[in-house]
Symmetry: C2
Subunit: 139 residues, 2 copies
DNA sequence: CGTGGATTGACAATGGTTGTCAACTGGGTT
DNA sequence: AACCCAGTTGACAACCATTGTCAATCCACG
């Protein structure tokens, strides 16, 4: 079941490097930095230049294939994602993220924006917490 | 006393520099970068060292006196804020921001997090749009 | 006044990200 | 197979927001 791999923008070449990045994105489900992914690839014996990692991640992000969120310190973190609009429930301890949908929130943001006469509305929403596993007492 | 000026953390000295930064924060209602504020102060004849601007903004942010949000490129942007929990409706054209409250959203995030067993929940939410003035046809 | 801790700011260092550009790759064409 | 050549790569440098450093300065208090 590897058919859910992020696809590269139409018209680009499926090079070894791009496949490697796309594949790496499938090996974890938390948010990782570009540099983390670069290291991951090097250690897994399928090295890709740092510039290329950045370029590929950017292309995937532009194509909506990966989500980007900013760490506290402003560093960009990446994660593969589904195509539909969604938000994340991120564990602030282990980083694992769950995609969640929020029709309630979508309606609310549109409503609030409308009340103030704002148009062409978009929004960002991330929820942070401690996941069950991380809050479980140590065994 | 109902001064709306940002207050500095308890026990710190109200120096000229810190007052200048706090005052600058009151001269605009959109989000500005630390460097913008540094420039603003220099041009207004009340110069403050860049390090001090960063330090003061950080202290104010820690004390919940100013909001921080990240621009697309990861740059930190600052704006004075009220003490209660709130979100922003930000004009992506002129940058002006309106504080909004969302009990609906608070309830929703807590609910979703709870369903997944997440505890100690917090969240970030920003709404972007085009404000009435910016979407109005030129006068 | 004098003293000491808090504060400042010029400057250097850090680090994520982007720009540069010569070398390389590989699909289409002859 | 050899040739093209636009797309691609990656080592390296440049960029720039942010943080660290530390000697000089300030200021509350005795």
């Amino acid at each position: 079941m590897t058919s859910t791999e992020p696809h590269l923008p139409h018209g680009t070449r499926p090079t070894r490097q791009r496949r490697a990045v796309a594949s790496a994105l499938h090996s974890f489900e938390d948010f990782r930095s570009a540099q983390d992914i670069h290291d991951l690839l090097r250690r897994s014996g399928d090295p890709v230049g740092l510039s290329t990692v950045y370029r590929t991640l950017q292309a995937l992000a532009d194509g909506g294939e990966v989500d980007v969120l900013r760490a506290e310190d402003g560093e960009a973190l990446y994660r593969r994602c589904s195509a539909t609009h969604h938000h994340h429930l991120v564990c602030r301890s282990c980083g694992r993220a769950v995609e969640v949908e929020g029709p309630t929130v979508e309606r609310w943001t549109d409503g609030v924006a409308g009340e103030h006469g704002f148009t062409d509305v978009s929004h960002t929403l991330e929820v942070f917490g401690t996941c069950p596993e991380c809050s479980a007492p140590r065994d």
